[in-house]
Structures are given as structure tokens and as C-alpha cells.
Amino acid sequence: MLGSVLGSLMDGMVRAAESAIDSLSRALQPTYDWLDQRIPIRRIEERILFDPVPERGSWWYTFGAAIYTLLIVQLITGIFLLMYYVPSWNEARNSILYIQQEVFLGWLVRGLHYWGQVALVLLVGVHMLRTFFSGAYKSPRELTWVLGVTLLILMVATAFTGGCIRWDQSGYFDTVVGTTIAGWTPIIGPFLAKLWRGGDTITPLTLTRTFAFHVWIFPALLFAIATVHVALVVIQGQFGSWVNYEPDPPGTRPPDEDERAAMEKLKREVLNPDSRKVNIPSRVTWFFPYHLFKEGVVSMVVFFGVFLAAFFFPVPVEEPVDPTTITYAPASMWFFLFEDQLFLLFPGAWMIPAGNVGVDTLMVILLYLLPFIDRSPGLRPFQRPMAIAFMLIVVFSLLVLAMLAASRVYNYGFINSPR
């Protein structure tokens, strides 16, 4: 009884919404036509909104969208933080205190910017592992992977420089350690360190240079490359993963009208020699609204998490910069904890460059070369046991190293009597 009432109520709402949308689109039709005569929006719509995308495993294909959403959150909150932040040796920390304590909701905007970074780096890791385990980096998607690795580096660089320009004790010592590691690079190290510091020691130039990289150089490159990265995904079709080619298990619902139409369109595209889509997955549907809905849900959940974190865990402003401290124990940024543990594992004049700069460089080179090393056509994880085993070992090692670094206690300062 109640069910049928609700059902008819629902039907009525759907009808009302449909007629409202119909009349709205009729009213907007002249504007649409006017625009279409000038910009090929119909073709853009066809190409992007009505793009056939895989149905199977599609929740796993939503991280990229969530990452782009968070990037935009970072951009917007970053711009608003710039309205109060001053990249000045004496005033940077004060301006952050002002944002945190005086500006209306300043603590929330700064919290979103901070927790957005945490979520971004985590999501980029998940996105990369998903791509790796599903085999989506293989031909013809090698360039998408290469750009992705570049984006990972830029992301970490942006997050790191962002921590530096806090210019409290944590920001200062992040800058100290960061420039010192750069200085450990063989041959060019001293030049790199001096170039970054803007001199032999940390000076106001270090802050302004790091600031310029954080707010413009890295983000500009990040957005430009991310856009090409996404364009490549659209051009080559969003079905690099092996799961898309598995046959339907018995008892699966047959394709509906939209799915059949999407499959027809995809087959036409693949046959077209100008298309860069080469394979036909077993089941596809339209990007809009079906996949966009899922991307929207995941983006919203992620942003909600960032919002809650920003609300409940305000980001502290630490003590003013003091290089003579005997109480402050510098700690690594969370995504460099594995690196911090490597510092401990590789001592001495030869091992520091080899173990820290060298291991990182090797990891980055291996990541870049992955699609060119692992060229077997098989996409399934069991068809490439070496690559999978290697990645599992690397991920496990990074996690163990990070946990070791996080649980280490070296703050002798509190044991010492204060001066």
C-alpha cells in the first residue's frame, strides 16, 4: 500500500522533472544552436559526454576524477590563502597565524588546503596502483603512464614546497632538510642547493623562491600535464584494464538500450582508422550520465572526508623559526617518511648520496620505464608475475620504512634540561 503510493509519487516526480527539463532545453535551444554555429559543442558533447566507457569495474575508474576535483579544491583554497599569506622571512608565520585565528573561517580554508594535500597524495598512490595492477599502462597507453609519473613527482614537489612555506619550525626544518638532500646529489648537488636557497644559507630568498615554485611553477605544470593526461585517456578510451575484457558471468542482465547504443558507437569508432581506440571491451555504457555519476559520488565522498578532517583536525602553527632550538625535533612530512628511514639506513659520505638520492632516482626511472620494460601483451596480473611481485615488494617496503620512521623517537631535547 505504502509502496505503491511512494511508487506513484516517485513516478509523478520523475514526470514533472522530465517535463521541466524538456521545456528548459526547448527554451535554451536557440542559444545552443547559436553557440554550435561558432563552437562545435555538439561534436564536443558527442566526443566527451557520449563516450563509450567500460561498465565493469567502473568504480575503480573514478579516482582520476576525484584527483582532478581535489586539484581544483587545492587551486581555489590556495588562491584564497594567498589573500592573506605573506611570503616574508619575518611575517610568513604571523600571516598564517592571522589566517588561523583572525580571518573568518580561515582555519577551515587552511585545513581544506592541508587535508586536500593528504587526500591527493593518497589518491594518486591508489590511482597509480590501480593502473599498475589492471595493466592499463600497456600499449597504446605508455605515454599516459609517463605523464602520470611526471604528475606524481610534481604533486609531491608541490606538497613539499607547500609545507616549507609555512615557515614555522616545521617549515624551516623541511626547507633545511630538503635543500641539504639536494646538496647531497653527486656533482651538481652544491649548485642545486645554492640555487634553491638563493645563497649559501637559508635566507628570505629561499622562502620567496620556494613560494614561487609552490604557487605557480609546479601547479601550472601540474594542471597543464593533467589536462593532457586526461585528454589521452579520452582519446584512447577508458578501457586499459583486463577486467573489461572478461566475458559476462552467467545470469548477468542483458545490455539495455543505452549499453547497446554505446557498443554500436564504440565498434564504429574502433573500425575508423583515425581513432586511437584499439580494443572493444565486453560491456560499455555512456560516460554521461552513468560514469559521471559514479565519479561524482566518489569525488563527493573524498571531498566530504577532507572537509571533516579540516573541521575536526585543525592544522597547527608551530613555534617561530629557531635554528638554535634544543627542544624542537624536526619530523618528516608524512609522504616522505620512507625517505626519512632511508636516511637512517644509508650512512656516510658514499652511502648518503647512493642510498637517498640514488634510490629515489632509481625508483623514478623504473616507474618511467615500466611500460617499456613490461611489454608482454598479457594484461591479467597472473600473466605478469615478475612485475606484480616487484611492485608488491616496493609498496610493502615503502610502507614498512614509513612505519619504522613514524614510530622512531629521537627527540632527545625533552630529556635535556632547557637552557
Binding site: N90, V177, K194, L195, L344, Y410, I415
Partner: protein
């Protein structure tokens, strides 16, 4: 789908010269933009600070068993912003000499501290260990704590904003 057609113009002298001109213009504009920016960015490599001497402490404050940490401030240079470069100086007697060395760990640059209960200097970041005179005694660092260029004037110890890496005994006074 977009139909791709390749319009390859006939090879001619005019075409060649035009290609050359386009390349030349692009190259010239790139050099005119990038050249100054490269100079602007790399100019800091040539910068150095002038020699400054600051007083650390009087000789009575210097102990033979425990390195004392003093805070010195050099005037900042090469910036439009007024600022000080604050540094920590450890001071101790060794025999008839006075040693003045830095508190910046030679590993990753963290600020080291004297632990009286261990009679050692330790780094809170990665556990670098130095003895009371700043000599490397353990942990990941590769070098001892560097000396400050220092001198005694009357009853006072002065250091300059120049460091001398260990092994160079001229840093001792």
C-alpha cells in the same frame, strides 16, 4: 571522426627559406625570453656574504667538560627584507685551545643538542652522534661538526660567518 589529410607542400627554395625563417624567429624569441630568465634565476649562484665577526661569549663562560650552546646573529645580506641569520655555536675548551663549532648536523642539517646524561651531542632527526668536541662518534653523518672561523679578542670569543670543515685545524684558536 576527424579526417586527417596531410598537406605536404611541394619542396621549393621559397618553402625552405620560409621554414628557416619560422625556425629562426621561434629560436630568437625563445632566446630573448629564456636568456634573461635563466640569468635572473641562476644569478644567486654568484652571490656570497661579506665577512662578519660577532661576539659569542666571554672566556669565563667556556667550560672544559661541557660544550655550551650560544646563539649568534649575523646581519642578513642579499635581500630587500631586513633579517638576521641566527646560528648556534657550541663552545668548549680542549687543552689550552678553545673550539667553536656549529650546531647544524652534517647529515641533513637538523639542530643537534648536548645531552649531559650521555656526555654526547646528538641529532634528533636521524641519531647522529658527536663527542663533546664535535667529532663524529656515530650514526649516519659523514663528517664532524664544522668549526666556525673564530678568534679571541681580549676576554671575548668572536666567530665569523665562515665555517671550516673538520680536518682543517686552522679553525682552532
Amino acid at each position: 571522426m576527424i579526417q586527417e589529410e596531410h598537406h605536404l607542400p611541394a619542396r621549393s627554395r621559397r618553402r625552405f627559406l620560409q621554414d628557416l625563417a619560422i625556425g629562426g624567429i621561434a629560436g630568437l624569441v625563445s632566446i630573448l625570453i629564456a636568456g634573461p630568465l635563466v640569468g635572473y634565476f641562476f644569478e644567486v649562484l654568484g652571490r656570497s656574504s661579506s665577512l662578519q665577526w660577532v661576539r659569542v661569549c666571554s672566556l669565563e663562560q667556556i667550560d672544559a667538560l661541557e660544550p655550551r650552546l650560544f646563539r649568534v646573529a649575523f646581519a642578513g645580506e642579499n635581500s630587500s627584507v631586513p633579517f638576521e641569520i641566527v646560528q648556534g655555536v657550541f663552545v668548549i675548551r680542549q687543552g689550552d685551545q678553545v673550539l667553536a663549532f656549529g650546531n647544524v648536523c652534517t647529515h641533513m642539517g637538523c639542530s643537534v643538542r648536548w645531552l649531559a646524561w650521555r656526555q654526547q651531542i646528538l641529532c634528533p632527526c636521524h641519531g647522529g652522534i658527536y663527542d663533546r668536541w664535535g667529532n663524529l662518534a656515530g650514526g649516519p653523518p659523514a663528517e664532524s661538526l664544522p668549526f666556525f672561523l673564530s678568534r679571541i679578542e681580549g676576554n671575548d670569543l668572536f666567530v665569523a660567518n665562515r665555517i671550516i670543515r673538520r680536518g682543517n685545524i686552522e679553525g682552532r684558536v
